[in-house]
């Protein structure tokens, strides 16, 4: 059976896409003819891939990321590349060089970030499935703000080959969909061992979600309902946790002391990695070329000032500073020690409970421009970054609304127990729908 063509010409009024493939090819398989949107930091052969950055304008990858190859092998139609915060740096999708995405639930608000385009494409009904990436919450945050489901898999379970790196020890490609079943299906397609990614694990995913969570111990750390978590959001999430209890789960309150410095550890780590990863963008191998009449450093500096947005340059600068010899011990080394403490906290908690539950985001979706101060934007990631520091799976599932805006319930699980977090999310989703 040869390739067939899917006609895809959506009314993209929320600017979810940076690039649309109006005549998308597809073949046979479990996803035959299903339109799938792909975040624009994932390489797609023959389709422009920019990371929402001017420095990659016009870049057309000569190869597919492994996740894209896996989608195509199951017949999916890759219908476009979705908007994002430039290089994944942000929690609102306002940092795209090509303009922000609007939240389909309220176009006056951000969709969350950095996979805001993927979340908006699903929430607006333009595609049933989308790929996002999650470095510190970038799948779960927009899933929560747009009222869809998003899973950050266990680190290493989904190949990062072909993902344009930002914070490579933290980031994961993951599925986004309107329902837990959709996320489960997409996960079963993209989760494969990949010899081209040396961090890839050999742990394929083949799972049928179950609603039976009787006896599951659900830990709720006090810190996930601490200062900064909007009380009405907290109340909606507690109601969701109570529903899990009515479904037979046992709810246990607990403590996670490393939360105090997890966010700082996360930002020092990702900025340091970004300063190294983004050094390759010099205009020589891809992107608009530098001025060859000028000397090397002068030409590159100018090219990178023009090509990178403010937030990208800020993170490269701070990352360079954190890795410099005089400050390495104060920032980077301490951040790695903090990261180990976060892992230890999770190990201790997971010896007592099966999953950990709490809000995905401390508030509902922000209004545009509300987080203009970078530090205030960083602080909004406090509940999602611990899972990235520890490499554990975490899912966000819609669990109610505050003033008509969606709230996400976050379920985190033990390393490699992605199936269990999917089950708990499924039990919530099905229970809430009854």
């Amino acid at each position: 059976m040869g390739a067939e063509t899917l006609d895809f010409r959506p009314d993209d009024k929320y600017h979810a896409f940076l690039k649309i493939v109006p005549e998308a090819q597809y073949g046979p398989g479990r996803l035959s003819g299903v339109p799938v949107a792909v975040k624009d930091n994932i390489s797609t052969a023959g389709i422009e891939t920019t990371c929402a950055s001017r420095i990659l304008s016009g870049y057309v990858p000569p190869y597919d990321a492994t996740v894209v190859s896996l989608l195509k092998a199951e017949g999916a139609a890759i219908v476009g590349k979705t908007n994002m915060d430039e290089f994944g740096m942000g929690s609102t999708t306002e940092n795209s060089a090509f303009g922000p995405t609007l939240n389909p639930r309220d176009p006056g608000r951000v969709p969350g970030g950095s996979s805001g385009g993927s979340a908006a494409a699903v929430a607006a009904g333009l595609v049933p499935l989308a790929l996002g990436t999650d470095t510190g919450g970038s799948i779960r945050c927009p899933a929560a703000f747009c009222g869809i489901v998003g899973l950050k898999p266990t680190y290493g379970r989904v190949s990062r080959y072909g993902l344009i790196a930002y914070g490579n020890s933290l980031e994961q490609v993951g599925p986004m969909a309107a329902t837990v079943s959709g996320v489960n299906l997409l996960m079963s397609v993209i989760c494969r061992h990949d010899p081209r990614d040396s961090t890839s694990l050999d742990a394929p995913y083949s799972h049928t979600p179950t609603m039976d969570i009787r006896g599951t111990r659900v830990g709720v750390p006090e810190e996930f309902f601490g200062e900064g978590v909007e009380p009405r959001v907290a109340s909606v999430v507690w109601d969701a946790i109570s529903l899990l209890e009515r479904k037979g789960a046992e709810v246990v309150t607990c403590r996670m002391p490393s939360m105090e410095y997890a966010l700082a550890a996360y930002y020092v780590t990702c900025m340091s990695e970004a300063s190294s990863n983004l050094a390759r963008f010099d205009g020589v191998r891809y992107g608009p070329p530098p001025d060859h009449r000028k000397p090397w450093h002068e030409a590159f500096q100018e090219r990178r000032r023009e090509g990178f947005g403010v937030e990208v340059r800020r993170r490269i600068l701070i990352g360079t500073f954190a890795l410099s010899s005089g400050y390495y011990g104060k920032y980077y080394a301490k951040a790695q020690a903090a990261r180990r403490n976060v892992r230890r906290d999770f190990l201790r908690l997971f010896s007592e409970v099966d999953v950990i539950a709490g809000p995905t985001m401390p508030t509902v979706a922000f209004r545009f421009g509300e987080k203009s101060d970078p530090l205030s934007m960083y602080l909004s990631d406090i509940l999602t970054v611990p899972a990235n520091l520890a490499g554990i799976p975490a899912i966000s599932v819609p669990c109610g609304k505050v003033e008509g805006l969606p709230v996400g319930l976050q379920i985190m699980g033990r390393w490699l127990e992605d199936e269990r977090v999917v089950d708990v999310a499924y039990a919530y989703e099905q229970g809430a729908g009854q």
């Binding site: 016009g58 000569p62 700082a264 050094a279 191998r285 490269i316 951040a335 020690a337």
Partner: protein
């Protein structure tokens, strides 16, 4: 506390040019963020320090199919005689 001069110097190290008009805001946000990072001073470093779960992943040093020279050069802004063209070093 970093100064505008420090930020300019770090920008030079990172090959990130900063316009004069941006310098004050970059320096202010830099300092606010570093002040927040001071919370890491509370972290205690335990003796076992390392991560015993980390292992090296090796592969055989075999020649495998790769991009053709044409594909590798396909996104370059400027090429010359089958090479990438870069600004002069000296």
């Amino acid at each position: 506390m970093v100064t505008e001069r420090d930020v300019e110097y770090i920008g030079m190290l990172a090959d990130i040019a900063i316009d004069r008009g941006e310098l004050a805001e970059f320096t202010a946000s830099f300092n606010r963020i570093l002040e927040y990072f001071d919370i890491l001073d509370k972290v205690t470093v335990e003796e076992d320090g390392g991560d015993s779960a980390i292992v090296n992943v090796f592969r055989e040093d075999d020649v495998v199919p790769s991009l053709s020279p044409e594909e590798a050069l396909s996104n370059a802004g400027e090429t010359e005689d089958g090479f990438f063209r870069a600004p002069r070093v000296m």
